[in-house]
Symmetry: C2
Subunit: 199 residues, 2 copies
Amino acid sequence: MSAAKEILERLAGCPLPEWHHVEPLLRRKTLESGETLFLAGMAHPYVYFVETGIIKMIYETCEGDAWVKAFAAEDRFFASLAALLPGGVTSFSAVAACPAAVESLPYHLLDQLGDKHPQWQRALRKGFELYGFRKEARERDLLTLSAGERYQRFIEEYPHIAERVTDRDIAGYVRVTPVALSRIKSRIKLRQMEEKDAS
Amino acid sequence: MSAAKEILERLAGCPLPEWHHVEPLLRRKTLESGETLFLAGMAHPYVYFVETGIIKMIYETCEGDAWVKAFAAEDRFFASLAALLPGGVTSFSAVAACPAAVESLPYHLLDQLGDKHPQWQRALRKGFELYGFRKEARERDLLTLSAGERYQRFIEEYPHIAERVTDRDIAGYVRVTPVALSRIKSRIKLRQMEEKDAS
DNA sequence: GGTCAGGGTTAACCTAGGTTAATGAGCGGT
DNA sequence: ACCGCTCATTAACCTAGGTTAACCCTGACC
């Protein structure tokens, strides 16, 4: 069973018809750590499904910083929404944060199947619903939390990701420099020591 | 013609069937500036359509800050995605940033119509697509731009909103305090003066 | 007219995080 | 074993923004 099928049918909540039309267009790709899946600026209307490993989506600024928009680990799907819209291009790049295997499908195929079958349309809508839900949470964290709080929430919420990517990437996600993240970590350690001493 | 119908049919790209089933559940509400539409923490599975005015969506922290997630002006729709999901609650409040009139529809109705008619399902999917697209852009701005750049982008991209809300709300959107925004503005003014002097 | 409240500005001070640079640990390649 | 690389840490210094408080302006209300 392909990761794509599993993920899409979980979204739809039912089996999806015409999978035999999908199969031949499903591309599988394995990536080494650090290998690029796609680059910002490309027209890239594909949806990805993570089979194994972790993909990081990054915004690269002209100053050379690389801020991490999101991580996608096993069983997640992702895409550049901007690139799915007609004539759109990705504003971020996707890079393997550790050895990974992904599957991809062209969005126009999903779009067509959506117009033909309510089950597919439902899967797509649920997919966008979930995507929006995640983005809403990310936006809230960036707006309301301090850097230290964002770090703590990240390691609590995604421990399975935190332990498999570099601190550098975590810093990019938390939106601080690696130096600042190191300081934040030592501050936390210090506080934990103090609490232990007090008790 | 209601704002909701106009917005939804623009999303669908075609007329929507069974509008007579929608009409009786469509609620219209006018708000004075500062009046609350809904509060964070509520179960609130409704989609809103802005007829006139501007609604701000805000995250209120326990420290008493109010950060502005987004503004919705004329012809926009919005909802708390988290509250649309079964059992979910809003994590933000919606407040009129100036006198406003909105229409609302219960999401379960849209969900049902989506399951019945491909046109409705398409409208919903396009709606989520657009919502995700906007959130993606917001996330990028928060990750890659400095406070000053975020302010400049905001007044360039949404001049019709910028001139109708208070600086206090703009500061909340840019994610700085009103004091810092004032400083940013005077810094920009200073730079413009210098450029004029140089030329 | 006077008063009051809220928004915007400015100044003084403080803190968190950015910047640069030096140091050391881990690791693959030769 | 050695080199070279990347990553994490630490220190020194700097800057942007937070905090507090004083001030002014405007508009609503009495």
